[in-house]
Subunit: 230 residues, 2 copies
DNA sequence: CCTTATTGCGTTAATTTTACGCAAAGGTAT
DNA sequence: ATACCTTTGCGTAAAATTAACGCAATAAGG
């Protein structure tokens, strides 16, 4: 069974799709890594990824990897860059179409191979296999850019969340701090949040108001073209 | 010589790099297209592009295409998306890593095959071969986003230009109009323009001041982190 | 029970954006 | 040449937005 059945006149590179999976635990951004069990880079950590089938797009391939590791089918997945350095894989020429996925940690089930998978906070990520350090840096930059144009933050939060959690998320991604009261005002003024059951009138003020992302309102506003700006 | 010498255990897609080449003639954005001489899509227009060699990155491949068509070696080239739809090429599975290049029209020499190459204004672009309509749309969107973060406009203008030319460029890319006086103030306040010889004191006011992009000043500001915002 | 941290709701000052006025000077048409 | 229109440079004032921060109610912790 070691026949080489697929032959071409010119050499073809292998093509893989990698998936940088981001989550948020209420305090910091986390990324899911897989420990490699084989050479090259045996024992090092890397992103989930694999060879593209001939009947799927790069994004479909990345989604397949995502599902294998997290059980999630409908998370937000976005392609962000294709890495094609000639020697990025020591074995053979491999180019990889890199994606990032944003998942709600609460919905993640252990994947097929939970033993070798682990979530790392951004400041705990070890040196990675292949060129995955570079891939991670670029993924984070894209995340920063994207969150200024689209409310992707909500992909990372539970359905219902507090304003403080939302602020923590923005601060973690953008690596800045905001004045709590200004952030609060700005977010509410955007009009893309809805309060869940309004806190009972006499109830304790200390219990924070819970919000939900208002996708319909956002769709309206997007039509008219609006920026988030932070 | 029709031997099939490169054999693999699994099928591999072909990988190409395409290069959407943008220019600016002082009024509108132009794009360089090549008329296809062979099937499929014979007679239709398409972007320059070609198969990636095994010893070059996607960007190097795109630069090679750029040089073949324009003679330019040091233009700004940026990868923006990889298109991997299963049937995007009717002959075989081909995925393409799409780039855009920004060139100064005055520096473009005719390419190797000038006969079949032509510049089109954006509103004259015909229906294109393959999925190149989609590629163009995405290239334009990326251009719009990018110009809000980095002063890529200067890649499209001559070394020396007037404020009106700069405004026309921004308006053409973003498809908006600005108040001339506000644009003027905003641009000058950014501090990334330098006047060329200050207009002689008694000279005619009607002769517009000529500017030059101040790359050093921009590098400084970028360090501190700044946004362009339009 | 006292201290501290969190939440909600403001206000004010600083800054930025937007809209537009105006004069000098060069072109254009008659 | 003259009258008129356009382009350029330089402002200014109002409107809107951002940034800084005050404060009271109330949980939570010791």
């Amino acid at each position: 069974m070691s026949e080489q059945n697929y032959c071409y006149k010119y050499p073809h590179p292998s093509v893989t799709a990698d998936c940088v999976i981001f989550g948020f635990d209420g305090v910091s951004i986390k990324v899911l890594l897989i420990e490699r069990g084989v050479e090259p880079f045996k024992g090092k950590w890397a992103f989930p990824g694999g060879f593209m089938n001939m009947d799927e797009t790069a994004e479909e391939c990345a989604r397949r990897e995502l599902e294998e590791e997290t059980g999630l089918r409908d998370a937000s997945v976005e392609q962000f860059y294709t890495f094609s350095d000639v020697r990025r894989d020591p074995r053979e020429r491999v180019i990889t179409v890199a994606h990032y996925a944003l998942v709600k940690l609460s919905e993640v089930k252990g994947g097929d191979d939970a033993a070798s998978a682990r979530w790392f906070a951004m400041d705990e990520v070890p040196s990675l296999a292949f060129d995955h350090d570079r891939i991670l840096r670029m993924a984070l930059n894209r995340l920063k850019e994207r969150i200024c144009f689209e409310p992707i933050g909500f992909e990372l939060l539970p359905e219902v969340f507090t304003m403080t959690e939302l602020q923590n998320l923005y601060e973690a991604i953008l690596e800045v701090t905001f004045d709590r009261r200004n952030f609060y005002n700005k977010m509410l003024k955007l009009g893309i949040l809805m309060e869940t059951e309004p806190r009972p009138d006499g109830a304790a003020r200390r219990t924070p108001t819970k919000y939900r992302f208002n996708a319909e309102k956002y769709a309206e506003l997007k039509q008219k073209g609006f920026r988030l700006e932070f």
